[in-house]
């Protein structure tokens, strides 16, 4: 099948179809966040599954471009009234790239294997109790308690279907049912896919995909300028978008992401334990400036922990608007002066830029902030998430619906609220969208009021595409980047 020829970045000639699309074309796409290896069951970070899910691996369901759950390997499903049983009807005639047939055994195998996952939030599907094979193409997934989010998580990496024979070398090879076959991954340099000609659904629009990895936004921007790549996803060269927009050949596509850039305030710190102090800090920060520094103004200012694409999103931007005087008053009323804080900053451009603006902002209300840059992920994770040794820290939580982490008191930001936990449980037990959304909205309000962190902004998902490239996904939904619709025209 498919991968006959290595892809090398430039559009090769091929037969043009009547629509002007070249189905023999190869496309090379610049990417950020380098996968350490191919095993997203044990390797953290979005980089791995982003590339593989929906392209090489598939799950029972998927998220469409609007974030709605759609069938994939499951043709259809039913949810029991108590919300504890999901019955899936499976696609027939689906095979893995190595020829293994996809059936109910695979589903049972894959979902039960979630116990062995050590990365990418397997606990989100902790409610799964058992997987029953009804027949070859029907399975029932039983939950121990209702979980309204279960389908959503099944649409993500946790729902990926694996062939039992290939789970031993997940780190170095990928065998799925998707529209692309995995060809090669040159560590941190490039990953290559070839079209799966035996795909059960609509075949992919290009013959081959090359994902080229960059650690540096401007290096990638230079590459697309000079024809090194045809497109870039997740571009962070914000300052260059303007000049790209002025150019004919390159299209700048600004979409949304699931990311929440949040500055957490450690409640173990004496002063930060006080509501007034946290609120003061929140109001002292000019989020517009922060976003201007971090993303050149692209993205959405946040007032709360949810992002606009969440079904329960409420705009809280007005709640703690930038007001240094009010912040100063708050501090005074809390009787806090000479506040000095250390701010652990992961060594990522957005974080360093944001932190410097914040430091400057806070100095205006007399809060002395010391920046401490830490390598991400190794040091930052250890110091902040494991040891919880910080006063302030900042990170972009990219996983979808990351607000759920406020349910866990042991999570690094140490938010511990009985009320919030009850609301989470209520939302999980919801049986319809409205019920779910209203619980979550209530929860959001509570969080905003408690303000355990300063939600800064929701970064954009910016793609750059050269002329003739179309079908690139616009939004980042925190699942796989579906490249099957990408086409290249003459």
């Amino acid at each position: 099948a498919g991968g006959d020829d290595p892809v090398n970045g430039e559009d090769e000639g091929g037969e043009a179809t009547s629509t002007g699309e070249n189905s023999d074309a190869n496309i090379s796409i610049g990417m950020f966040a380098v996968p350490a290896n191919l095993d997203f069951t044990t390797t953290g970070g979005a980089a791995v599954f982003e590339a593989l899910l929906y392209n090489v691996y598939e799950g029972l369901v998927q998220l469409d471009a609007e974030g709605e759950i759609q069938p994939l390997l499951a043709e259809s499903w039913e949810i029991s009234d108590d919300g504890q049983e999901f019955t899936f009807q499976l696609q027939e005639g689906v095979t893995f790239h190595d020829g293994t047939e996809f059936d109910a055994d695979i589903v049972k195998f894959s979902l039960e294997r979630l116990d062995e996952w050590s990365a990418n939030t397997p606990e989100a599907l902790a409610a799964i109790d058992s997987v029953e094979i009804v027949d070859d193409y029907e399975v029932t997934v039983a939950l121990s308690e209702p979980d309204y989010n279960a389908l959503f998580w099944l649409a993500g990496p946790l729902g990926a279907m694996f062939s039992p024979d290939s789970v031993d070398d997940l780190a170095t090879d990928a065998n799925g049912t998707g529209p692309f076959e995995f060809v090669t991954y040159e560590n941190a340099v490039r990953m290559e896919f070839a079209r799966n000609d035996d795909y059960w659904g609509d075949p992919a629009g290009v013959a081959g995909v090359e994902l080229v990895y960059y650690e540096d936004a401007s290096a990638a921007a230079n590459a697309i300028r000079t024809g090194g790549v045809d497109a870039i996803l997740r571009s962070e060269a914000f300052d260059q978008f303007e000049s790209f927009e002025a150019e004919e050949e390159i299209e700048v596509r600004v979409g949304s992401s699931q990311g929440v850039v949040v500055m957490s305030m450690n409640p173990d710190h004496e002063a930060l334990a006080q509501d007034e102090v946290r609120e003061a800090l929140h109001r002292a920060i000019d989020k517009e400036s922060v976003m201007a520094a971090a993303t050149a103004g692209y993205g959405e200012i946040l007032g709360g922990p949810s992002v606009p694409t969440d079904p329960y999103y409420i705009d809280f931007t007005g709640t703690y608007d930038y007001d240094p005087d009010a912040a100063q008053d708050l501090l005074d009323s809390a009787d806090v002066d000479d506040l000095s804080l250390t701010f652990n900053v992961p060594n990522r451009a957005y974080a360093e830029a944001s932190a410097q603006v914040i430091q400057d902002n806070l100095s205006e209300i007399g809060v002395d902030v010391t920046l401490q840059t830490q390598e991400f992920p190794a040091v930052w994770v250890e110091e902040n998430m494991v040891n919880q040794d910080f006063d302030l820290t900042i990170i972009n939580h990219v996983e979808p619906r990351n607000m759920n982490n406020y349910a866990f008191p042991e999570y690094y930001w140490g938010y511990d609220s009985e009320e919030a936990r009850d609301l989470f449980a209520e939302a999980a037990a919801a049986t319809d969208d409205d019920e779910y959304a209203s619980s979550m909205e209530e929860l959001t309000e509570l969080l905003v009021e408690d303000t355990p962190g300063v939600w800064l902004y929701n970064p954009p998902n910016v793609g750059l595409a050269t002329e003739g490239v179309s079908g690139l996904p616009l939004n980042d939904l925190g699942v796989g980047i579906d490249l099957s619709d990408v086409t290249v025209s003459e």
Partner: protein
């Protein structure tokens, strides 16, 4: 193990006594040019301690990447900070790194070199072996690894760069010391009943002073370049301390649209390095016109 041989081949020539090579006090224009540039940087650093046009850490995201104006003489950077102020204040870190590097390098290298020369056969040989091993770890490599071990900071950079400088210093000091020790005045001092410490302090150090000054000057230049490279890799001076290397790193992403953000710190680095190099060259000509070129 390698360089001494070349040194001995090139320097073991008998002294020129027939007056054809009259030693001139060379290098004055170089010293003046280098000295001027170095002073310029020093003055920048000192002035920045007391005054900068703007607060170099004050961000102003609305005015980011502004062109030069009356308030922002050289424009602003990606966070809206005043580039002129940052260039001024940014001279402190490289100078400190340079000073620290030279201090560390000398504190380690000079004693090693002198002791190795004085105990040439026994302990000295092993000292130089150790030195060779240290020399196989290039300074920047050390810096990267140390930054990984202890986290990136000026201190780790200084330590690593100093450790990287030390073996070279030790070598030069050793060969200089050997030369001093081979002079009859050293023998005379021993015959006068003077101990090794006296010899080191009264004869060796004053006579290798020239070489040391040259090494210091060159060490400064190297340290400034290395600091810039480390900061560029994100392993040097962490924000918000202004440093030219960081400015270059920050400016890299806006090179196309605001080349000035990179031009100024780039020029500052070049001027400082040029200054120290010229000074070093000039001083080398002055102190030691026939110094072994391999170091």
């Amino acid at each position: 193990m390698s360089n001494d041989r070349a040194a001995s081949v090139t320097t073991s020539r008998p002294p020129l006594t027939n007056g054809q090579h009259v030693r001139r006090r060379g290098g004055t224009p170089l010293v003046i040019a280098g000295g001027t540039l170095v002073s310029l940087v020093l003055v920048m650093a000192i002035v920045s301690l007391m005054w900068t046009p703007q607060d170099p850490t004050a961000t102003d995201a609305v005015n980011r990447l502004a062109s030069p104006s009356a308030t922002h003489w050289l424009g602003t950077d990606g966070l809206g900070r005043d580039i002129a102020s940052m260039v001024l204040a940014g001279s402190r870190v490289p100078l400190m790194v340079g000073l620290g590097t030279v201090a560390v390098g000398f504190t380690i290298g000079v004693p090693i070199g002198i002791v190795a020369a004085m105990t040439d056969r026994g302990a000295g040989m092993w000292l130089m072996r150790g030195n060779d091993i240290l020399q196989a770890f290039p300074a920047l490599l050390l810096a990267i690894v140390l930054a990984a071990v202890f986290g990136p900071s000026t201190l780790t950079a200084v330590t690593a760069l100093g450790l990287g400088l030390a073996p070279g210093v030790a070598r030069v000091v050793r060969s200089g010391t050997l030369q001093v020790l081979s002079r009859e005045y050293s023998l005379a001092a021993r015959a006068a009943g003077r101990g090794p410490l006296y010899l080191a302090v009264r004869h060796v150090l004053p006579n290798i002073r020239g070489i040391l000054i040259v090494q210091a000057s060159v060490g400064f230049a190297i340290a400034i370049l290395a600091e810039a490279a480390l900061s560029f890799l994100g392993l040097g001076t962490p924000p918000p301390a202004a440093s030219w290397g960081r400015m270059l790193q920050d400016g890299q992403s806006v090179l196309q649209i605001a080349p000035l953000t990179i031009l100024w710190p780039g020029m500052a680095v070049a001027v400082a390095v040029l200054g120290f190099n010229l000074l070093g060259d000039g001083l080398r000509d002055r102190f030691d016109p026939r110094m072994d070129v391999t170091r």
